[in-house]
């Protein structure tokens, strides 16, 4: 491979790479604002100017193609002087309103000011005034004064969202961003511009002013909005999710996520409709009970049916670990083969960017770990039919609001003698359930999802339930989690009495006389890995933060079985 030298260090590069790309691959970060690995090069911010031997002027590392033997200096006096010049220029008209800026703490301008700037401004003139608080669209707010005109947002709309909505107008230091006449920025990916904006010029209307960045912990997880399984960070303060942001994974979602996923897939976690502790219906009303009482009730009532009268429905919203135990519970504890899960398909949601018509995060995983009818067992539609014909009298339903999904089913489920439900929130299905177990949400547990493409990915708890302690569970901690006292309001927060489905199943099974010896989701996964070909030889560490892709050939074989 050809080589260049950066600050005396020999570095290999791939033909056609720019200096900044070659440096990045070698772990050297050349400062940049406008350059973004997934967008076209615009070369406008000039902070990546570097000195290159035999070149008459400094060159920008983002657009200069690396050539064999090139000698680059990122720390020479000339380079530092240019970098400092750019920093000084960027700051002269900047409002410096970091104390009230959402971006503070994750702002490139702020970070670079610390790292690369001389620290004193010689600017004593009046700053340029621009418009603040301009809605570019329903979900993104623009502050003209904070904008450093890097054009990342424009290029994102043009190149990634493929919906040109933004443009520069005016000239010189009056340049600002606006939408084209008659346009609003409302493409389904619009909020990604908030993440890539290097400063606080673009803010998320759902999140702005809710928290300082350092007050929150960030937990690496997976979006549950569709079968793409975009990699995300879950941002939590005071045990409450305040925002989701995309996390880079080139083979799944690159740097992006859709606005739907960002806005509509986490609010149920801290919603007042969350179910706190198990409930049993007594005299028509759901009544709060302890776990032991709920297990005993479920056990004795389930035992009153013959095996063939019981059906179990797993969930494409639940993890592989959850579904694996659901399947084993159905087959080994209840002894029924009437086992399936519900598909949620919405072709109108699909596009050719990220969004998939399968609106669940784990339908492939549910299937792979065995949530499907046994040889003579009934699938979902047949189960419903059998309920309406009173052949099935008891239904064990995990994490799926069947009735919301299909209102006609309400009358059919009403015919059941027993409806046991795992659910995170109250919903139309819990309204008619006899026994309700409070399930932990995806943000409160460990586990794995398999996306549409066979990518196995991990989720981790970001919010603690009664059974889970942040510190003991090794959960991501914000500064305030670590150092806040119990008198600090942010160190508290509501904790629900909920458990992951796999743990509920395990508890119920043991009351029914069948012991699953799992203490952690990871142990469930171990069994999955040894029993199911697609997961063979895997563990949580191998899956890691970037996922593990099941070979297409293996996957195909396993699904056909």
């Amino acid at each position: 491979m050809p080589k260049i030298f950066i600050d005396g260090k020999e570095i290999e590069f791939k033909q056609g790479q720019t200096i900044i790309e070659a440096a990045k691959d070698a772990g050297i970060d050349i400062p940049h604002f406008c350059w973004h690995p997934s967008l076209s090069v615009s070369g406008n911010c000039r902070i990546c100017l570097v000195e290159v031997e035999k070149m008459p002027k400094l060159v920008i590392a983002c657009s200069t193609i690396a050539a064999e033997g090139m000698v680059v200096y990122t720390q020479s006096q000339k380079t530092l002087a240019a970098r400092n010049a750019v920093m000084e220029f960027l700051l002269i008209n900047h409002p410096l309103d970091c104390p009230i800026c959402d971006e503070a703490g994750e702002c490139k301008l702020q970070d670079y000011a610390y790292e690369h700037s001389i620290g004193e401004s010689r600017f004593v003139e009046e700053k340029v005034k621009k418009e603040k608080r301009v809605p570019l669209g329903p979900r993104v707010m623009f502050d003209g004064e904070r904008c450093i005109s890097c054009s990342r947002c424009i290029r994102f709309c043009d190149e990634i969202a493929k919906d040109p909505e933004l443009t520069f107008v005016q000239r010189g230091d009056r340049v600002t961003i606006t939408t084209y006449p008659g346009e609003v920025m409302d493409n389904p990916y619009s909020m990604n511009v908030v993440d890539i904006c290097p400063v606080g010029a673009l803010t998320n209307t759902d999140f702005r002013f809710k928290a300082r960045v350092w007050e929150m912990s960030a937990t690496k997880s997976i979006c549950n909005g569709c079968a793409r399984g975009c990699n995300i960070d879950i941002w939590v303060r005071n045990n409450e999710i305040l925002r989701l942001t995309p996390r880079h994974n080139e083979s799944v979602n690159s740097y992006w996520m859709c606005d739907h996923g960002r806005l509509n897939t986490f609010k149920f976690v801290n919603d007042s409709s969350r179910i706190d502790s198990p409930h049993i219906r007594k005299e028509g009303q759901l009544v709060k009970v302890g776990w032991d009482e709920a297990f005993a009730e479920a056990s004795s009532r389930l035992k009153s049916f013959s095996k063939d009268e019981i059906a179990v429905i797993g969930s494409a919203f639940a993890t592989c670990e959850d579904n694996y135990l659901v399947a084993r519970f159905a087959k080994s504890v209840l002894g029924t083969g009437h086992l399936d899960f519900i598909h949620h398909n919405d072709p109108s949601f699909e596009d050719d960017i990220l969004r998939r018509s399968d609106r669940t995060p784990n339908s492939l995983g549910a299937k792979l770990v065995g949530v499907r009818p046994s040889k003579n067992g009934l699938d979902f539609n047949s189960i419903i039919k059998a309920i309406s014909e009173r052949r099935i009298k008891a239904l064990y339903l995990v994490e799926d609001d069947t009735i919301q999904n299909d209102p006609e089913i309400e009358n059919i489920l009403a015919k059941l003698d027993l409806l046991v439900v795992h659910s995170t929130n109250y919903n139309k299905t819990t309204d008619i359930a006899d026994i309700v177990f409070p399930a932990s949400t995806y943000a409160e547990k460990n586990g794995t999802f398999v996306n549409f493409d066979g990518m196995i990915q991990r989720i981790k708890p970001a919010v603690s339930t009664l059974e889970a302690d942040r510190a003991l569970e090794g959960m991501a901690m914000s500064r305030l989690d670590k150092f806040g006292t119990r008198w600090d309001r942010w160190a508290q927060g509501v904790k629900f009495d909920a458990r992951p489905t796999w743990r509920i199943i395990s508890g119920l099974s043991s009351v029914m006389g069948y012991k699953f010896k799992y203490n952690m989701a990871e142990e469930v996964f171990k069994d999955i890995a040894s029993g199911i070909t697609s997961f063979n030889h895997l563990d949580y560490d191998i899956i890691g933060e970037q996922g593990f892709k099941i070979k297409a050939s293996v996957l195909e074989k396993e699904i056909l079985e």
Binding site: R46, I148, R171, G172
Partner: protein
């Protein structure tokens, strides 16, 4: 002295007059030769661009790829926005056919089928005049499909005028191409250069109007003839636009290497009231100014001006007498570049405004000596760090005016005044090299 571009022939702008004076014969001659021969002759003639940078014209043409499956383009730059520059319009008005003839020869040489003449929108009158000349050239079969018959060749090309919308930056070649494509007039990052990636991503050559207008004469009279006019390293004549404090402002066609003092005193009639010259900008406001007491012996060509620390630019000579307020002049120049900066890249976008604000403050009597150093460092921080040469255009006048007239400027800011405390952005950080040691 022989004039190449604006000869004293009455009504030369009319096609009949142009033809009866041997017009379009150069094109005829060119079509009997190969494109490479033409490029070779232009190379040997030593013709350098008249748009500002004095780049070797034939060399630029030779960058055009010989084999490509893309169409090639010629852009003729008639944006003429440099303050002090008003020469291209003379060609449009008095000798448009020579530029048209130059355009078809150039198209043939570089293999372009289309030439665009980009003219600043404010030039309504000259756009009309040139359009008339182009229409006549079409009607007489010198441009377009009919060329084939007229010249007995199978080459033909078209010429279109594109009106600018009033931005100085659209005279910068890559910005001009974006503007032609209907995009915002933002200069492009180079490389790639226009010969590789120009208009609509196709190979493109961009030349100034005056450059192109020289081509027919080089072909007609031979490269040796041309190379013997004026300064050997920058041969030919230049259209000097002389303005400011002279008795006879106007456009003068003179050989390169003419003495600056001759231009001022012999041709432009000297300074009104015999005042002394304080300052001369030799090539349009972007070029470094020369002190009035240093004019002796200065010759007007790219090489000679380089030696005295300036540049030929567009040959727009601006003369300022001893009563001129240089601070106001510089503030006005700084205002122009602040107003015209496209705003794409950081140093120019932010720096041009800063320069103007400092100068305005000095005019308001609130300047101190340290502001003079500040002006120079801000200019230095722009220079060389930008996407296009507007950065230098904005930095040079400030830097060199303040440096070369330091005494003058110091008088204007003599009193040390107290200013608000500079913003401490944050505390000092460690870097590999202490920034205090960094010199520009």
């Amino acid at each position: 002295m022989e004039k190449i571009l604006l000869p004293d022939i009455k009504n030369l702008h009319l096609i009949d007059v142009y033809v009866s004076n041997g017009g379009y014969n150069a094109a005829k001659k060119a079509f009997t030769q190969t494109p490479d021969d033409i490029i070779d002759q232009v190379k040997k003639s030593g013709l350098r661009g008249r748009g500002g940078a004095a780049f070797l014209c034939g060399l630029k043409w030779s960058f055009m790829p010989k084999t490509t499956d893309k169409p090639k383009y010629l852009c003729i730059n008639g944006d003429e926005s440099e303050p002090g520059s008003f020469k291209d319009r003379q060609i449009f008005e008095f000798n448009p056919h020579q530029m048209i003839e130059g355009a078809i020869i150039t198209c043939y040489a570089i293999g372009a089928k289309t030439a665009y003449v980009y003219i600043r929108g404010e030039y309504h009158k000259w756009i009309k005049l040139l359009q008339k000349a182009i229409d006549d050239a079409y009607a007489n079969g010198f441009v377009g499909e009919k060329m084939k018959e007229t010249f007995g060749t199978n080459f033909f090309c078209d010429i279109f005028i594109h009106k600018g919308a009033g931005a100085y930056i659209c005279g910068e070649e890559s910005s001009l191409m974006n503007s032609l494509e209907g995009k915002r007039g933002y200069p492009r990052v180079k490389p790639p250069f226009p010969a590789q990636n120009g208009l609509w991503g196709c190979p493109t050559t961009i030349n100034n109007v005056e450059t192109i207008a020289n081509v027919p004469k080089i072909i007609e009279k031979g490269w040796e003839w041309f190379s013997n006019i004026g300064h050997p390293k920058h041969p030919g004549t230049l259209l000097f636009g002389v303005s400011g404090h002279v008795n006879k402002p106007g456009v003068y066609e003179l050989p390169t290497g003419t003495l600056l003092t001759d231009i001022i005193y012999k041709y432009a009639g000297g300074v009104p009231n015999n005042k002394k010259v304080l300052c001369v900008i030799p090539g349009g406001t972007s070029m470094p100014p020369i002190r009035g007491d240093k004019l002796e012996g200065v010759r007007m060509d790219a090489e000679s001006l380089k030696e005295v620390g300036s540049a030929i630019g567009t040959g727009g000579v601006i003369v300022m007498d001893e009563d001129t307020d240089l601070v106001k002049v510089l503030a006005r120049i700084a205002h122009f570049y602040h107003h015209e900066s496209c705003g794409q890249c950081t140093p120019c976008r932010e720096g041009t405004g800063w320069l103007e604000k400092i100068l305005k403050r000095i005019i308001a009597g609130k300047g101190s000596v340290s502001d003079l150093d500040l002006l120079i460092t801000v200019a230095n921080q722009i220079e060389g760090n930008t996407i296009c040469a507007l950065g230098e255009a904005a930095a040079w006048p400030v830097k060199f005016m303040v440096e070369r007239f330091r005494d003058y400027f110091e008088q204007r800011v003599s009193k040390e005044i107290s200013l608000p405390v500079a913003n401490k952005v944050h505390s000092m950080r460690q870097t590999a090299v202490p920034l205090a040691d960094v010199k520009n």
